[in-house]
């Protein structure tokens, strides 16, 4: 009869496996949103820097990916460094990126002819240190492609964001397919934050943010006000239990 494995040996084995799993990872740094309702539900307290994240728009947004692109811009606006934005259609409006916190000196665009080209350009970008992150606008994202991006991101510690964008609304069903991304978000527009009745005009845009998938975390959804000129999200006023500005300015990466 063999001796029962000692708990110490089991622990050592667990440590070994854990080390093997994470040996290529540069860091486990995260980028918090600065909105505690969001951060406290994400493992590590924010979005992992060395990882692939997926952002898609709901309903018609699936075609334009406008909110998804602004969400991605807002995240990277709070990180340090330049951004490589890979795309197939040249309809992203640079003045809007500047208003989301990514001025022209922080964005390099790469126009690829097809989605395979976008993915290859993203992967190349992830290999070069010094970028805040890489954004790619793609419709299809296969397990293999996402795995490659995730590995490249892990190795360099840079953030990869896939803005999912389809040619037809029906194609958005592709979002249900599994990928290697650490998180998957869906963003839909909500009627903007109400203004006082006497004030004309459109209020601050509001998003319905769904976290559909999160490795080592739970899915949830939340209503938020869209990111401002520095990339900060905010809880809508009636829901906020305290002033949003309290920790909003500390959006830099922490290890």
């Amino acid at each position: 009869m063999s001796p029962r494995p000692a708990p110490a040996a089991l622990d050592a084995l667990r440590r070994k496996v854990r080390a093997l799993e994470t040996q290529d990872r540069a860091t486990r740094a995260v980028l918090p949103f600065g909105v505690s309702a969001l951060d406290k539900r994400l493992p590590g307290g924010g979005l992992s820097l060395g990882a692939l994240h997926e952002v898609a728009g709901g309903a018609e947004e699936a075609l334009y990916g406008a909110a998804a692109a602004r969400f991605a811009a807002g995240i990277l606006a709070r990180a340090h460094g330049e951004v490589l934005w890979c795309r197939r259609q040249a309809d992203l409006f640079a003045p809007s990126l500047a208003q989301a916190g990514l001025p022209p000196d922080r964005v390099i665009f790469a126009d690829a002819g097809d989605e395979a080209g976008v993915l290859a350009a993203m992967e190349e970008g992830l290999r070069w240190p010094g970028l805040a992150g890489v954004v790619g606008e793609v419709g299809r994202l296969s397990m293999t492609a996402s795995r490659r991006l995730q590995l490249a991101a892990e190795r360099s510690g840079q953030m990869a964001i896939a803005v999912r964008r389809w040619r037809r609304v029906a194609d958005a069903a592709d979002l249900g397919q599994p990928t290697a991304a650490e998180t998957r978000w869906r963003i839909s527009a909500l009627p903007s934050s109400p203004l006082p009745p006497s004030v004309p005009g459109v209020g601050r845009p509001r998003w319905f943010l769904e976290l559909l998938r999160c490795r080592a975390g739970e899915a949830f959804d939340i209503e938020l006000e869209a990111c401002d000129a520095k990339g900060h999200l905010r809880l809508p006023a009636p829901l906020a239990h305290r002033s949003a500005g309290a920790d909003a300015g500390q959006g830099r990466a922490v290890a």
Binding site: A110, G113, E124, P191, S192
Partner: protein, 507 residues
């Protein structure tokens, strides 16, 4: 890949060059000019401009005769050597712009191997138009043709009577059939000899049996026929400026395996970088030439955003290009050249305490090599209030200092390259519509911001003098936000059509 060759024909090269050299002192184009050359002991017209031809002069006519016929004739001596050297310089210029493999095609043309280059210019026809326009701006008359062979393109550029000729791939026989025999680059006396038994066109020669033809006229006509029809290769030896840093290797045994090619390419890159280091230079572009055993030269080119001589990085970029190189039955010579090398500049780190910018030129070069140099860029602000004119492309290595886009007026995340007409239900002239129909879906406007009035730029075009547009940000009941505008101020017909358009979508 089928070879595609561009031939540039400069019918007025000596006189165009003369006019260029004289610059402002040049006589008007209506002045007849002839260039005198020697035929035996006689001075005869070797070249003339259009005005002289219109005056009834012919090539080969005695100069004495010509001056008697045309009063006010301007006479110059033909400077064949000078024309030849200038043609070499022109070839170097074309090499920088269009393709690594360019050669002078004396006395009055260039030949460019455009295989795999045309897509950088938006297709073959656009490339030819670009070549012709640039030469035209430099004061050179040119006709250009592209075909599967040097001989074919040469003939079509000179005899097709079209300024731009794109011969489809694999259809050279048909294009060449009706051209005269003189299009075949044969000596004049041979053309005359062939004309005696009745050969006038290339098609007739092509249709006749080759054995008797070779027996009677030698192998020249058949060789030229085969070259023109792309049956026999004709290597284009690229020009080099004498000062271009170069590295070359000749192989005793032809090589062809991709790994072997990559290994020697890397070794040559190291050699080239050592040369560059001796000269204190960095490469702005590197051309690699692969001489195949079947007399064809394959080429590849990489461009660098900043001068560089980092061997491992450059070798990696070059090796990525190997997949476009077809080694055929083997490669017996490899040449690397760095045209336009520049002094290597070292940038100082930014001021103490300031954030240092990461050097991204390596990434930019890698992406540009893969996607094309036009596909990697930054977007900077341009001085214009019109949204579609407010963004301009700049090279990715140039970092824009600031931007002039409005901060207070929200701009849509997606901006449609072409505004889409929408049908609206408007209540008041200076108000946004109460509802609109876009792409077949009707949307009710819940809230709106605006108008932001943008005026036409009269300094750009007279037609814009009275024009204006009113932009609104509108939100529908679902919360989707759009950027719409009315062409005009809503009242004055001169300010625009008063129709509504969708300009973009907010995120």
């Amino acid at each position: 890949m089928t070879q595609r060759v561009i031939s540039v024909f400069l019918p007025r090269w000596p006189t165009d060059r003369l006019a260029r050299m004289q610059d402002k002192a040049a006589p008007s184009p209506e002045t007849p000019i002839v260039m005198a050359g020697r035929v035996g002991r006689r001075r005869a017209i070797a070249h003339m401009n259009l005005a002289a031809a219109k005056a009834g002069l012919r090539l080969g006519q005695a100069i004495a005769h010509a001056t008697a016929l045309v009063p006010g004739l301007v006479l110059h001596d033909l400077d064949a050597a000078g024309d030849g050297m200038a043609l070499q310089r022109l070839a170097l210029w074309a090499q920088r712009l269009y393709s690594p493999t360019v050669a002078a095609d004396p006395p009055d043309g260039l030949v460019i191997d455009a295989t795999g280059c045309a897509h950088l210019f938006g297709g073959e026809e656009k490339m030819l138009i670009d070549i012709r326009q640039r030469l035209g701006r430099a004061g050179l008359t040119a006709t250009v043709a592209i075909a599967d062979s040097w001989g074919g393109a040469h003939a079509l550029a000179r005899y097709s009577r079209r300024p731009i000729f794109v011969a489809p791939t694999g259809a050279l026989g048909r294009e060449l059939a009706d051209l005269p025999l003189s299009a075949l680059r044969l000596p004049a006396d041979l053309v005359l000899a062939l004309a005696k038994p009745g050969f006038d066109t290339i098609g007739e020669l092509e249709a006749s049996p080759k054995g008797p033809l070779a027996h009677r006229f030698g192998l020249d006509p058949i060789r030229r026929l085969d070259q023109a029809h792309a049956r026999q290769p004709e290597p284009i030896e690229p020009v080099f400026a004498p000062e271009t840093p170069r590295a070359a290797r000749i192989f005793a045994e032809p090589i062809g395996a991709p790994e072997t090619l990559a290994r020697y390419l890397t070794a040559l890159t190291v050699e080239l970088c050592a040369t560059l280091e001796d000269l204190g230079l960095g490469a702005r572009s590197i051309d690699a030439f692969f001489h195949r055993v079947d007399n064809r030269i394959e080429s590849a080119r990489i461009g660098l955003s900043t001068p560089a001589r980092d061997a491992s990085r450059l070798a990696k970029l070059l090796c990525e290009k190997l997949e476009t190189v077809d080694p055929g039955f083997g490669i017996d010579k490899m040449v690397l050249a760095a045209p336009g090398a520049q002094p290597l500049t070292y940038s100082q780190d930014e001021a103490l305490g300031g954030q240092q910018r990461a050097d991204l030129s390596g990434l930019i070069d890698t992406l540009a090599a893969r996607l094309g140099p036009e596909a990697v860029y930054r977007l900077a602000s341009a001085d214009s209030d019109l949204p579609e004119r407010s963004v301009r492309k700049t090279p990715a290595v140039d970092i824009p200092a600031a931007f002039s886009w409005p901060v207070d007026w929200p701009r849509p995340t997606r901006f449609f390259p072409r505004p889409e007409p929408i049908e609206t239900l408007a209540l008041l002239p200076d108000q946004p519509p109460a509802s609109f129909t876009w792409r077949g879906v009707r949307r009710r406007v819940r809230r709106a911001d605006g108008p932001e009035r943008v005026f036409g730029e009269w300094w750009k075009a007279d037609a814009e003098l009275a024009r204006s547009r009113d932009y609104f940000q509108v939100e529908d009941e679902g919360g989707a936000r759009y950027w719409i505008y009315r062409d005009g101020d809503g009242e004055d017909a001169a300010s625009g059509s008063q129709r509504w358009f969708m300009a973009g979508v907010f995120g």
